[in-house]
Structure formats: C-alpha cells, structure tokens
Symmetry: C2
Subunit: 328 residues, 2 copies
C-alpha cells in the first residue's frame, strides 16, 4: 500500500517526517511512501539517508500551510499545499492514506472537503488517544464538534469502537458516555437521548464519569468536542505538572544523587504511558479515506507510528467496518 | 459567630462532624457551634469528648437525609432533617452559616429554596476547590448548572473571584474562561458572549485551556457544570491512578525496602496538594446565606476546615461583596 506523508507538517519539518517515513518502510515492508511537499527541500533531506528509493517517492507541493494559519482559509487559498495535494491524490485512488503533523484544523477541513463523508456519517470527528493506567484508550470527539446532537454522539461511539478494535487491537471494545453521573437519567437532554441511542449497542456500558477515564473503565470515551478538548489538554499537562512537583519533592527531601536516580527511574516508568510521542497520531473518523494527524512536536518515531497506524486502518478496512456498523 | 453543623452528614456521622466541630472551636475562639441532628445521637457522641459546653449546643433534627436520596424529594419530604432545620435557623438569623458533609444535591436544593438567592444572582452555583501545582484554586460551576447562559458564566466568574480572594486569601484573583483555545473567537456562541461580558472585568485574563488548570494560569476557572463536574472528578482520580502506576514502577524496578521508602516519601509530598481532605468543603455561591458542603468521606479535620472556611465567609462579608461586585 502507499501512504502519503506531509513532509512539511509540524514543527520539525522536513527532518522528522522524512526520517519517520524511512523508519516506517524499514519496519513494515508492505508500505510505500509518497512524500508531499516542496520537491527540492525533500530531496535535500532524503539525501542525508540511505534508503530503498523504490519505496519512497516525492509528490511536489510547493505551498506550506503554517501551524497557526486559519484552517478554512488556508486550505482554500493554498491548493498546492502538501495537505491539499496529498489528500487529493488519495481521493484519486493513487494512495491509500495521508498522515501529517501539521495544522489540525486545516487538515480536518481539507479531509472533510476533499475526501468527503463516509456513507451514513452525520459529521466526521477527531478522536484522540488518551493515556490510562491500562494503556491508550480513545476519546471522541477531541475538539472537532463543539456542539453535538445525540445521533452524532451515537456515531462517535460506534466509529471509535471500530478504530479501537482494529488499530489498538482491543477486542470487544466498551463504549462509555461521559456524563456527570452513572444513572441514565443524568445530564442534559442531549446526553439522555444519546444514552438511549447508544444503549442499543451491546458494547455500550452506560454513563461514565470523569474519574473513570484514567482507570480505563471504558475503551471509547464519548463526549462533545468541548469536553473532549478540555479533557485532552488537561491530560497532556499531567506529565509536566508531576515533573515540577517531583523536582520539588526531591529538593525538599534533600535526596542523595543515588536516591535521586532511583526516584527518577521509577517516575520515568510511571509517566511513560503518558508520552504522546508513542501515540502515532489521531484519526479523523467518518471521512471517506484515511487521514491521521499528529502533534506539531512529533518526533520521527511519532511520524513512523502514525504511518504504521494508517497502514493498520487500510489493512483492517476500518472505513468499511464503520459504514456497516452504522447501518445496523 | 454561630455556625450550624450537620451532625448526620457524610459517611461517618455523627463521629466526624462532632469531632470536627470540637476541633474548630479549639482553633478559632470566635466560633460557636450548633450541632443539628437527632439529639440523643449527638449527646452520646459529645459525651466521648471534653469540650467547652458553652460553645456547642444541639438543635434537635430527628430526620436524616441519606447520601443517595433524590435531592428534590428528600428536602421536601424531610422538613425535620438536619439540613432543612439547620438552614431554616440560619434564615431566621439564629446562626450565620451551615456546613454539611451530606447529600450535595439535597443541600443545593435546600440552600437555594430556604436561603433564597442573593440580590442580582441569576443562578446559585457550586464551586469546587481544585488542586494545582501552586495550591488550591476555584473551579466554578462544579456540577449545579449543566446548561448555562453567558450571564451566568459571567456571574460565576465574579462570585468565584470574591470567594478566592476572601477565603483562599489570593489577592487580585485572575478569572479565566475554560475554552478550546485562547483566542476570543474560540468556542461556542455561549462562550464567545461570555468572553465579552467577562472582558469588562479587569481581572479577566481571557480564555484558558485544559492544560492551564494544573499550572494555575488562573485563580478562578469558569465553566459550565458539565465540564466542571467531569474535570473535577478527573482531578479526584489522579492520586489513585498515580499510586497504582507507582506501585507498578516500584515492582518493576525491584527496589530495596530502603529505596522504596525514599520513593514513597517523595511521592507522598507530590500528591499531598491533591488531598481533598484539606479542602474544607466547597461553597454554594449566590445563595442569601452561607452554605458549604464537603465530601461524604470528610474526616474530622475536613469538617473542621469547612467550619473555619464558613467563618471566613462570615467575617469577610463574602455575600455583600458578591452583591456589590455584581452591581458594577
């Protein structure tokens, strides 16, 4: 299969996308790569590596969409950007997936507009991988749809379940609806109706509360994009906050260098599940194609993981499974 | 001043409320206590302690509202409960504040109904003290108002500011509006309008994101009760989650007993800011009186802290300051 990679997405382009692409073909021999971006820049970066040049090609896209550009405007005014061109070749069937560490909003707008919606989908959504004490789980929506209808939350749950099962490899994924209490009468009218819709699915475990996220009481946490975005960014701040508190704790307890090393080793194990570099990007679910986006700060390894996850989406037929799950 | 204490609120009554009341009068000599609950039960518990009996009296209230009773129903069908009687004596001017570790919903309903709303307040709210790396800050609303209007969020911000300044002792408290991005155009229509209303206040620092909570970028985090409740319960789950991960880290690294002690000591320092027993309850803001509620699991120390916070509300004239801040 062929995966298009945004060579000029994120804070460290072209280095990290190019290096990640090379790591990906080394790890999975079914993958070929199409690097999208300014040809000269990509060629120069590629020349620093030795790699199988039958498996990596360049698709020239001279325009670059900046991380802080207005999403809607950027994708309309930059038809020759890596994002627009990369998604367009996918629509034409010349590649199977697109991944980027670039401007999330622009990528969402372009993915929805260029790839279109999957059959039956009301609104595409951004899912986010969320660290729990049992590993990553899926939070959906992570910020694409701030206001939702019950039917949308219902679809987010079903689409999330397919992704979690096919890409994260969690069997029989449990869907939970984030709410202020467990009882089905809890929450707003929208949540009560969403509960009733989701309740038809055997994998729905009911309402879950904020305290149920970290222990992974569900595998798919369903919520609107406002709650999802705030919860996601809160989660992303945990590691920094704990590292500050731990430095203070080490200071206060006047530890020896040796003791300090022991504490830091244990802490590094504790916070490793919260390392977003391991995530490998998050999917836009509900678009008629495969499109994943990663953090702007994505390392080469993060880009590689994103490519491998995109490959899993293709291999496991995530989209056709979503379409049939929404039909039931 | 005289503070009414629900002697039968929470999971450990009458022990913890009674013991907390005795600790409070020992710590602050301006406080007298009115213990509300079944007289015989309170007398028996009090007999276990030596205390100044001029400063603690009993107000018989034979009915008990359970932690899981339906709030609206409980307060209507139990007129002789500690909650209803305790708030009624406050309304009559026979005491200055009421605190309870009991049924939060029942207490909110009863406080709003019996005490009434402060002049100018649209909807009373529950605030929650939220642990950050700089100490506790205020999250408001924490679950009372799941759906809000911009004017309500505006008032939550102003009321929260008064509480934070007068009770937490933070000068010139900064108000932040929880949103999905910093720019004023971000979020739903309700949030955009709320931004414009709050922007008239010099202490408003603009939109804040989920990642800004733990570093305490603001002192008052304003949000609707849905976001607040989920964020609050997520925060309450942090300590348990980290303790599980740390046990695993200790196990994995095969630490000696001595090394284990060092790690646990540092960790205990790190998580101590997240100890909700220290909080001393959270206030209902916007009611025409002082009413605080604590966790069902409140220790005697937590009850004591709740009483001391209620005393600060009285001494510092929190309510008259709220009324005048809403008039500006």
């Amino acid at each position: 299969m062929r995966i298009a990679v945004d060579a000029v997405g994120g804070d460290y382009y072209p280095k990290n996308p190019v290096e990640g692409a090379i790591q990906a073909i080394e790890e999975n021999d079914k993958i070929d790569i199409l690097l999208c971006g300014p040809e000269g820049m990509i060629k120069k970066e590629l020349s620093k590596f030795s790699y199988d040049d039958n498996r990596i090609s360049i698709f020239d896209a001279p325009q670059i969409i900046g991380m802080n550009e207005s999403p809607a405007k950027a994708f309309k005014t930059k038809p020759d950007s890596s994002i627009v061109r990369g998604l367009t070749v996918q629509k034409k069937g010349q590649c199977d997936a697109f991944i980027s560490a670039g401007n999330t909003g622009a990528l969402l707008a372009a993915s929805t507009f260029i790839l279109g919606k999957l059959e039956g989908v009301i609104r595409p959504t951004i899912a986010a991988l969320y660290p729990t004490i049992k590993g990553f789980r899926l939070l959906v929506d992570a910020g694409a749809n701030l206001e939702v209808k019950p039917e949308m939350l219902y679809q987010f749950g079903l689409m999330g379940k397919v992704y979690v099962e096919e890409v994260l490899g969690i069997e029989n994924a449990r869907i939970g609806l984030l709410n202020v209490g467990e009882e089905k009468e809890k929450g707003t009218e929208i949540l009560k109706e969403s509960y009733n819709l989701l309740d038809k699915n055997p994998n729905f475990i009911g309402n879950i509360e904020g305290r149920d996220i970290l222990p992974a009481k569900a595998d798919v946490f369903v919520c609107d994009g406002m709650i999802g975005n705030i919860t996601l960014k809160f989660g992303e701040s945990l590691v920094d906050a704990f590292q500050i508190l731990i430095s203070q704790g080490i200071e206060k307890n006047k530890l020896s260098d040796e003791q300090k090393q022991v504490v830091l080793k244990v802490i590094s194990d504790v916070i490793s599940p919260f390392d977003y570099q391991m995530v490998g990007g998050v999917p836009f679910l509900g678009v008629d194609g495969i499109s994943l986006v990663g953090h702007g700060s994505s390392s080469a390894k993060a880009v590689k993981n994103m490519i491998l996850n995109a490959a899993l989406c293709v291999e496991h037929g995530v989209n056709s499974k979503i379409v049939s799950s929404l039909k039931n």
